[in-house]
Every structure is written in C-alpha cells, then in structure tokens.
Amino acid sequence: MSNSKDNQPPQAPEAETGAETGRAGDDGRGMASEPMKHYVSDAPFDPYTVETLTPEQERYYLAGQWKLMWWKLKRHKLAVASGIILLVMYLSIIFSEMIAPYNMLNRDIKHIYAPPQGIHFVHDGKFVGPFTYALKYRLNPQTLKREYVEDRTKISRVRFFCSGQSYEWLGLIKMNFHLVCPGNGGTMFLLGTDRMGRDMLSRIVIGARISLTIGLIGVSISFLLGIVIGGIAGYYGGWVDNIIQRLIEIMRSFPVLPLWMALAAALPVTWSPLLIYFGITMILGLLDWTGLARAVRSKLLALREEDFATAAQLMGAKPKRIIGRHLLPSFMSHLIASATLAIPTMILGETALSFLGLGLRPPLTSWGVLLAEAQNINVVALYPWLMLPVVPVVITVLAFNFLGDGLRDAADPYK
C-alpha cells in the first residue's frame, strides 16, 4: 500500500484514512473535520468523481480478505523477519543432513568434549580462505579434563559442496553430499562436540527436524479437534455446548506437565523411535485443543446470529455446510493466528518432555534431547557449549510469537 501513496489524486487521502480506520462504507466523509484549503480547479466539473475509483482504490476495495491480510502483515517488520527466519528453518529441515557437516551419530573418540573451533582465514600472514587448525588433545592428569590446544602448524581448509560422511537422506537415500565439510584429515566442530565426540552443530541442525515438525503436526491435530468440537459446541449451543464446555474445563484444570509425563511414560518401549515421535505429537495435540475449541465456539456463537447464517439456514443448508462454508471462513484468519501462537507451546512441550527423559529417545535427536543431556553441573562449569541448543529453541519460540502477533493484527484488516 505504501507505493500507492506517491501518485495519489486529491481524493485519495480521504479514502486512505477511511480504509485505515476500518470504516470502508462511509468513505471518510464524517471524518473531515479540518476545512480544506481553498483553490480553484480548472478542470471541467464532473459530479461523479467521488464515486469513480482510482486503480489503487479499486485494488484495495476489491481485494480479498487474504490479500488484505498479507498487505497488513507486510507492514509488521518484526513479523516479516520472523516469518523469513521460520521459513528458512523449515526449509532447512528438508536438507538437514546436507547442511550438517557431520553425520549426527558419528562418534569421534579422539575429540570428546572439544570446544567450538574457530574458522580462520589468514595463516602466516597469507590469506588462505576459510580453514581450521587441528586440535591437539591432552588429558590434564590432575583434573582429568580433556584439554584441546590449536595446533597452529596444521591447517585444513574447509571444503564446500563436498562429499563427506555418508548418511541416509530422510532415511531413504544413501548420500554423502554436504554443503560444508571439514578439510581432509581435519576437523571442524563449529559448536564443539559432546561427551561422545559428536558434532554439536550437526546434532542441532538435525535435531531441528523433529523439534520444528512436532509443533506443526501437534497443532494440526489440535486444530482439527478444536474446530470440530468447538464448531459443534458453538453451532448447536444449548446442552451440547454445556457438556463440551464442562469437558474443556475439566481438561484445562489438569496440570499439563504431569499429564504429559504420565502419557509419555505409558508409551511402550518397543515402539520404534519414529512411532514414539508420533505418539508424543499425538499427546501434545490431544491435550492442546481446548483453547482453540473455545475460540471457535465463541466466534461461532456470535456469527450464527448474523443474517447470512440465517439466510443459509432458511435456504435449507445443512449444519455441516453452514459451519464449513459460511461461518468458518469468516474467522479462519483469526484461527490461523492463534494456531501460530500455539506452535511454540508444542515445541516447548516436546523440549520439556525430552528434557525430563520422557519424550524422544536416542537415536532420535531433538533440541529437547540435546538439552536433557546437558543438565548437570559438569556441563555448566566445564563444557558450556553443550547448552547451545537453547539458542535455536529461544529463536524459534520468539519468531513464532512475533509472527503470530503480526498475524493476529493482520487477521482483521478492516480494523
């Protein structure tokens, strides 16, 4: 909308203010409180100028709801930035194995608890491009700490678009292509290694796959349940609504974490990690729909009294059609905004469960699993880089919150 401001005809500002205040109907006529400057126009008088629309105005007034939302969202800088971050993150989970410099499960016994390795560019005063120095390992005999010193004589240049450790892409295709690899014979632990000598960066990158999707899948489940149950409650009202509302109240009065824990502990151990993953998502989704159901119900209660709903009813539409075709679309945008805000809850839920040792199990890796491994004093005091998975968790949760915020503002573009 900002680009339409430059070449605006005199009437346009009025229309603009009208649009912005969300009262498109009265064309802002009641708003003009200041007297307009007096001038004489040479143009022939055309009594219909007020009613003909400029192309910009036309675009605006004829734009669909989604388009309006998009325009509004675009102006929320933080939300756009968050959206881009999330988009990049979600794209990355498809190519996790290629982005990770190492195979996640690879144990490098010679580099246990290696600290993050720096990337250097200049060696001996000469520019060589990105490279790492080799790490020299020494066991401190007094404290039994594994200490690493950079060996400034041995350099290994970082390779790009290279073949490195083999992996199964998405568990299907055997490949060994990586975006970045350590130099031949060298190491590149950008975020250090853990107690088994596994590269933390690779684990975080691959852990993102589960941590990020668990939110999406969980929210889809709770979305579905919320819409169906909330829709029924809101449309029918009366005793149906009453029962469902009481049920929701009961569910909401449970302390969530213990309930998650109980359900997660009940998942059989023989299940493959993948099944466990779906089990956990189900648990998170099954317990989270109540908020959405409430939102749907209250919106429906209000909307079903509208004229268009009555009209549809009179024309003989079935409840399913009325809810699905007439009522839901009128507040879908709002629902999507609240769903976005629900995703971080899911991600945190998974993190919390895994942190407590009840969620995902190795060899699956999620940020929660990584954090669970970092919960002791030794890590805090000696190997702080193992706590780095906190960073992506915080970034994701914040990004989702900002985006959700922007979406919520944009959801009602006429406001």
Binding site: I109, L144, I377, L382
Partner: protein, 650 residues
C-alpha cells in the same frame, strides 16, 4: 573356623582394644564438660565402660585429634539418616581396615569350631540414653522380639539359621551371652559386622514400654484386637517401627553409635550429636568421636556434586560419581578449601548386564539360559572404547568378578569372554540357530519375532544410557537390537522379579578385598534380589516354597559349592571352593561385566584430618567410611577457628 580362631579373635582384640586404659584419666569433650558442670550429665569416668576400647589413632598418617566442631555432609533423602549407622560403624564385631574381624562393642568374643560364639560385654557400657547395656538387652531381643510371631512374622533372619536350625541362646550372666548351633555358622560374625548389621540386641529399657509382655496398656489393647479376630494387633507394627536401630528415624530409640540423630524425620537438615556414652577412647584418653556434631543436609542428588564443589560439604563420597571428578578437581584448585581424593570403588564391575534367566517368555528364557548366547553378547561389547570414552581409559575392562587386589583375583576371570570379538560372537549366534534376519539385518528369534532386547536400568543421569548407546552400536553388528528403558527403582525390581525384564543394567559385584572366609552367597542363586536369576534365588530364599528350582547343572553346582563352603572351616579348602565358583562364573557369563575399578571421588575439607588419602569405597565389608573409623576423624581449625566456634555457640 579352626580352634586357632578361638584365640585369634580375643588376641586381635587385645592388640587393638583390650589393653585396659593406659591413662586412667579420660578427657571429656568441652561441649559435654559444660553439661557435666551444670550437673546434667555424669562425669566421663562414670559414662565410659570399665574397659573402654582404646583406639591407637596415631600412625599410618593419622594423628590423635582434638574434640569439637561440626562436620557437614550432603544426602539426598530423609531416608539417608541410616547412613550414619553405616559410617559410625560401631558393631559387636567390626572389620579393621585390613579386613580382619575384631570385637568392638563386645569386649571379647570366643568362637569354638565356628559353631558357638560367646560374647563378653564391657562392664558399665551404656546406651546413648545413659541406661546400662547388658545381657538383658540380648535376652529381650531373643525371647521377646526374635521369637515373637507378631514382630518377626517372617521368622528369624536367615543369618541366624543354619539349615533352618535356630541357635541356642544362653544368657550366661549379666555380661555374657552365648549363641550356638550344632553346625558351623560362617555368616554370623560377618552379618554382625555388616554395614546394615544383624542386630541381636535391643534397648530393653526403652522398648519394653511398647511390648505387651511388659506393658499392661499395650497388652490390654492387644487383647481387644484379638477379640476382633486379629492375631497381631497394631502394636506389632508400631513396635517394629520404633525398634529399627539401623534407620536412625526414631529419635528416642537408644543407640550405641558414635553419633545419634536428634532431628525427627522428615527434615532438610539432620543434626547428629555425639553419643556421650560411646565406648571408644583414643590413646590419650580422649573419648571418641572427636567431632561433636554431624550435619546431614538434604539436597537433590543431582545438585550434590555442585554443592560439594561449592564447599558445602566437609566429607562427601555418596552421590559423587567419577564423571564429577573433573568439576570437583577444578573447584579444588580454585578455592583450595578441600581436596578430592581418588578412592578405589570396590565393585567387581562398575556396570554389568544381567540377562534374566527366569524370563516369563519361554523363547527368551531359553536364549538367556544358553551360555553361547550370553557369551556372544559379552564378546560383542567394545569395553576398551567404553573405557576410553567414559572413564579416560582409567577403569578396568573385563568381566564381572572379584576386584584386582583381592587374594582371590586371577586375570583369567577378568578376561574370560570379555575381549571384543564380533566374528566369534556372530559365529556363536549362528551356532545357536539364530540365522534368520529381517530386512535391516537384525536377527530373528526362533519363533520369528525380532531379536529386540530391552535393557532396563534404574538410574538418573546419562552414564548408564551412554554405555547402553555404545553397547547398542556394537550389538547391532551381531544383529542384536537393543532398546533401553529407564524406570524407577521400585518398578525396576518388580519387573525383574516378575520375569518381565530381558536384561537389566546394574552395578556388578559389590565386593571389596574378597577373602576366602567371606561367604560366596552373592555368586550362587540365594536371593530374589539377584537380577540374573530372581526366581531361583527366591526358591532358595523361601526354602523351596516359592520361586523355581534351578535347573541348569552349573547353577546347581554353585549351590552345592556354597553348601560345602559353609561346612568347611578351613581357609585353604574355602579358597579352593571360591576358585571353582569364580571360574564357573567366568566361563558361564551369568552376568556380563562392562567396566570395573572406576575411581570414586571423595571430597575432604581441608579441616578434616585422618581421612586416608587412598582407600577402598566399599559397602560390605567396609561400610564406606566406617572401616576407616569415622569417629577418629577430627576438625583442625587452628586456634582462631576454635575460638570462633566457641563464640558462635554462645
């Protein structure tokens, strides 16, 4: 036990204890002197037995100490008050630091043929309440408690029975008690000297109030409840609860330990005060213990290493693990307030796998009972890698057997079936007939199910699961898939007993310097608690009433060997029996040891004196710090500290 043993015990006692006090003037602790002055406590000479046990503290790096001070130590649960019975280690007989039995609470013990044991008590020995400790307390235990069907509803403790035969107990005089059996009972003295000891005495003067024989009130109530058809009323349960001497939970229960609990459970902070009637003095005549108070501070077990590193514990071993060593050592170097010592942990294996040979499922059971299967599992563990990754290569790798340093140790026991050999392991599994594999290359069981072994462990932290992860990757190479499951301790045991667990992960043999004279019970199916054969153990424990009879010939042989060990009284013969037991274990791989000899960090505050630099961290025999006589530890706070402490008390 030979006749020479008859002489041996009093003799040894003579060296350490029985010399009638060299210095007739005893030195009381300043904190108690105040009470004596106020008239609240009798003078020390009247509190000590006529012949207190004199401990020569000085020597071997130890020095005689001073009285006073408070020692803090961290524990994880209110239940841990019992650890002070372990650390305190006052028993009728105790082990010295070189694992010899000497009389302690008893002044003298006469043993004849391993069959009869005569205890001579110290005249004038008193309970922590000041009431005399005499043969009456033994009589009360034997007649009114041990043989009371309501209190000991399961019958006598196993250590008091020889082939089901109870002892003959004679109260010879006020200070002499005799326990005798028609056959030797080699368990009796070790049980009395255990960390959780067998008690054959109970404070009569306190407990009689709760016993229907001596209390009319209790008797009346019991009569009432009997009319209702209940054989034993509530009193028995209450009595048992009050009379648990090991637990230190009943604050009013008189005790003989160096420190007694003064805080009711549950609490966050337990104060143990010195027992003013404790029966030991040092060579200078100072009554032991040196330290006035022990504070047990309760904290979450995960926080304990951090708190210890911050200097909140003066003496800590429990709840510290080898993986905490680096952190603790770093705090030591930074703060210089304590030292971290490396004691040897006394487990035969720090971590061992226990295949459940009593599994419910017949197919699994058959597999676990097949020695080739167990051998294959053992061969497919890369112990060196585990050692390198988790223990800096400082642990010992090998099977679950006696620890290096024990006179019974042989290298062959350690190395049997414990080298890393995937080829051999695969060959063994093929031999059993586990040749079918699924699409991913994992083997199938004879009935077509997947060979998926669930290893269960009851532990917090990542140590066990890391080991499992490493084992998992090498077992995959022999086509065995491993899943890990961690459960709570109660659940863990219950599942094993019910035969639901495939393989459990637990620490290995908890034996220190194993001697031929120590019973080999843990190596034969004698208890339900044994994770590799709970039902066979239960069968033995319940004398054939419950559980299942062992069927494997080698296991039956173990029981035979155990019996012949019991009958034998000769150390050489016992050594021979021990070796046969150990070699059966090495060959049959009933338990699969992973690593052993892991070091135990012990944090000792700079003030604390007399804690040995090198020691063995052992439960039985050893009682952790008990064997190193915690009552001889003392706090060296310099002149300033002493004064500050005095002022602080005022």
């Amino acid at each position: 036990m030979t006749v020479s043993r008859v002489l041996l015990l009093p003799l040894l006692g003579g060296v350490v204890a029985a010399t009638p006090a060299l210095s007739q003037t005893y030195i009381d602790a300043p904190s108690l002197q105040k009470l004596v002055k106020k008239g609240k406590l009798k003078p020390l000479a009247k509190r000590l037995p006529e012949t207190p046990r004199v401990i020569t503290v000085a020597g071997k790096g130890r020095v005689a100490g001073r009285h006073g001070g408070t020692l803090r130590t961290l524990m994880a649960r209110s239940k841990d008050t019992r650890i002070m019975t372990v650390y305190g280690y006052a028993r009728l007989v105790i082990y010295t630091s070189d694992y010899k039995l000497v009389p302690d609470i008893a002044e003298k013990i006469e043993v004849e043929g391993g069959k009869s044991f005569t205890f001579h008590l110290r005249k004038g020995h008193r309970w922590s309440t000041g009431k005399p400790f005499t043969a009456r307390d033994f009589e009360f235990f034997w007649k009114d408690v041990a043989n009371n069907k309501c209190i000991y509803s399961f019958g006598l403790p196993n250590n008091l029975l020889v082939n089901g035969e109870p002892p003959t107990v004679e109260i010879v005089d006020k200070h002499t008690i005799k326990y005798s059996w028609s056959q030797p009972n080699p368990y009796f003295l070790p049980a009395l000297a255990g960390p959780s000891p067998l008690y054959i005495y109970m404070p009569f003067h306190y407990l009689k109030k709760f016993h229907p024989k001596y209390s009319k009130k209790v008797a009346k109530k019991w009569k009432k409840s009997r009319k209702k058809g209940k054989l034993c009323g509530k009193w028995a349960r209450k009595f048992r609860k009050r009379a648990r001497q090991y637990r230190f939970q009943n604050v009013k229960l008189p005790n003989l330990q160096p420190w007694v609990n003064t805080t009711k459970s549950p609490a966050e902070r337990f104060v143990f005060r010195r027992n003013p009637y404790f029966h030991r003095v040092d060579e200078n005549g100072r009554q032991l213990p040196y330290i006035d108070r022990i504070l047990l501070l309760i904290a979450d077990s995960k926080i304990i290493p951090a708190k210890t590193g911050a200097g909140e514990s003066d003496l800590q071993g429990r709840y510290l693990r080898f993986s905490d060593f680096t952190f603790l050592k770093r705090s030591e170097l930074r703060r210089k307030r304590f030292t971290v010592r490396q004691w040897q942990s006394a487990t035969g294996a720090h971590v061992a796998l226990y295949p459940n040979m009593n599994h419910k499922d017949p197919v699994w059971r058959k597999l676990f009972r097949d020695v080739r299967f167990r051998r294959a599992l053992s061969l497919a563990i890369n112990r060196r890698e585990i050692n390198e990754i988790m223990y800096y290569g400082l642990a010992a790798t090998g099977a679950n057997t006696v620890m290096r340093g024990s006179p019974l140790f042989k290298n062959a026991y350690l190395t049997a079936w414990s080298t890393f050999d995937i080829k051999k392991a695969n060959q063994l599994l093929d031999e059993i007939g586990l040749t079918k594999r699924d699409a991913q290359g994992y083997r199938l069981m004879p009935d077509g199910r997947k060979l998926e072994i669930i290893v269960e462990a009851a532990s917090e932290g990542t140590e066990y699961s890391d080991i499992m992860g490493l084992v998992q990757s090498t077992w995959a190479k022999i086509g065995v898939r491993l899943f890990q499951k961690s459960t709570r301790r109660e659940m863990f045991r219950r599942r094993v007993y019910a035969g639901l667990t495939h393989i459990s992960l637990w620490s290995g043999l908890d034996y220190a310097n194993l001697r031929a004279d120590l019973p080999p019970d843990d190596l034969a199916p004698t208890g339900e608690i044994q994770l590799q054969w709970p039902k066979w153990g239960l069968w033995y424990e319940s004398r054939g009433r419950r559980g299942e009879k062992p069927t494997l010939p080698k296991v039956i042989r173990l029981l035979e060997l155990l019996n012949s060990w019991r009958k034998s009284t000769d150390t050489a013969e016992r050594t021979k029996i021990w070796h046969e037991i150990l070699s059966i274990h090495a060959d049959q791989v009933y338990t699969i040891g992973v690593v052993g000899g892991v070091l135990q960090p012990i944090v000792v505050s700079n003030q604390v004196r007399n804690v040995p630099a090198k020691g063995i961290w052992s439960w039985d025999p050893g009682a952790r710090f008990g064997i190193y006589q915690m009552d001889t530890f003392w706090l060296d706070r310099g002149e300033k500290g002493q004064r500050a402490a005095k002022n602080g008390k005022k």
